[in-house]
């Protein structure tokens, strides 16, 4: 079954690539706006031998990784604190519900005003967008603590810190992992957006340069790279999730008792 699915997936992808080759060549769309797959592939080949491409990729990944790390750290710490400290959740709920829906891209002018085209501009947008994903999931996760598990821990004299570490954190971890996976995808989108719109160095900026200099196949090649990057990030996040949650129902599957 798994082999069949993989074969079907590969066949679908091959058909999609073939379509991308045939449609421009038959003149259904203009080749200058939509180059055939083979030309995009050869442009991609040129890119990966170019040092500028790799440094742009490095810049994008740097912004993504630092931003994501800050967002995850802050989201988890704030989420746990808000849940553990009495009354804090009630006091912050409406503020969170107000701030959360503000689209990160609406902060682009602010980022430019504050930091220009520096990395910090990218980080501001990335952190703002991905922080909420982690925070909301952490809040849900902390709520899920089983009262019996909590009472067990209390009856054995575990203090607040020990209960956070041994009961609350493992309970919340599956939710946090989901939050991190969502945040990782959002962070990449915002990193590329920031580079594209603000002109901070990175793949987004390279795409803008390719577009303005009419290098259409190169532009598509860079877009393909961002897609591959997103794919890798998602696969990576899922692998980490499965490793960390081997004990969880969603991962361990059915157990014969």
């Amino acid at each position: 079954m798994k082999g069949l699915n993989a074969a079907l997936g590969a066949a679908g992808l091959a058909a999609f690539l073939a379509l991308g080759e045939v449609v421009p060549r038959t003149g259904l769309v203009k080749e200058s706006y939509f180059p055939p797959t083979s030309r995009i592939a050869s442009a991609l080949g040129d890119e990966i031998t170019d040092g500028a491409f790799w440094s742009a990729l490095g810049d994008t990944l740097t912004g993504w990784a630092i931003g994501l790390a800050i967002a995850v750290g802050a989201g988890v710490v704030v989420g746990v604190l808000v849940s553990v400290v009495p009354y804090l959740r009630e006091a912050t709920a409406s503020t969170i519900e107000f701030l959360r829906p503000i689209p990160s891209v609406a902060l682009i002018p602010l980022a430019v005003l504050l930091y220009g085209t520096e990395l910090r501009s990218v980080l501001l947008l990335v952190v703002y967008a991905s922080f909420w994903q982690v925070l909301i999931q952490t809040l849900y996760g902390v709520q899920d603590v089983d009262p019996v598990a909590e009472e067990t821990a209390r009856s054995y004299g575990l203090g607040t810190w020990a209960r956070v570490r041994y009961v609350l954190w493992p309970t919340a971890l599956p939710y946090v992992m989901t939050g991190v996976r969502l945040a990782a995808a959002v962070a990449l989108i915002l990193a590329i957006t920031a580079e594209l719109v603000i002109g901070a160095p990175g793949l987004g900026q390279q795409i803008a340069v390719a577009q303005s200099s009419q290098a259409v196949p190169e532009m598509y090649a860079l877009i393909v790279v961002t897609g591959l990057l997103g794919l890798l990030i998602n696969v990576g996040a899922r692998t980490v999730e499965r490793r960390a949650l081997a004990w969880h129902q969603s991962v361990r599957g059915e157990v014969a008792v």
């Binding site: 009472e151 054995y156 009961v167 493992p170 157990v255 008792v257």
Partner: protein
Amino acid sequence: MDALLDISGLRKVYEGSGRRVEAVRDLTFTVESGELVCVVGPSGCGKTTLLKCLGGLLAPTAGRVLFAGKPVSGPPPGMALVFQEYGRSLFPWMRVAENVELPLKQKDLSKARRRELVADALASVGLADAAGAYPWQLSGGMQQRVAIARALAYEPDVLLMDEPFAAVDAQTRADLEDLVRGLWRERGITILFVTHDIDEAVYLGERVVVLSASPTVVQEQLKVDLPDERDQLTTRVAPRFAELRTHVYEQIQAAKRGKADPAGGKADAEPADRP
């Protein structure tokens, strides 16, 4: 000698959302060091509330609980609780040995000593092989054994058990009852065992505290004068066992009807003179 557990005038009223529930009205009884006492009562009579008050998880509305002469205000060291819901009480993210070891980390023990206690506790519940398994890989009865091992490793002065075998099948239940009695005799720990099962209470206990229906008071205290050596086959068919269980059953029925001690019991069971 002072009693290990001294409960007097215990009352617990839950207040919330316009509803006022008096779970426990007035409970007074003691547990001596080394005793195995069963508390039995009709369902909904506040048995779990009683245990949570004893364990320091709930603050009583009135009355007091003394543990080794000191008032209980929070979970005291030297007390271990075994819950009915073993599946939720064990942590699925920890292996069996880690579950058993976790409470020990709160004590000032060396790593070697902790390991020793874990291995010893697991061996005494017959699960030495399961140390590396996750709780959810074990059957229900085995999971409850792990929970018991966790309590034993903690080396408590008193072990509180809240209907621990209510969720396992009858055969497993019989095995676990014998396990608890065996551990009590071997280790000399004090056990307060709460159950709704009259047979279980009489079979296990040295003394049975019968609770009334809600609003809950102590209906009767009964000394179980069965021999120390008990087993599922002979003890349960012994005439004395039948008399005692009939007597407790009558008391509980009387409690449900709201009467205090009706005929005194035609089984001619002597209420324990010690309160």
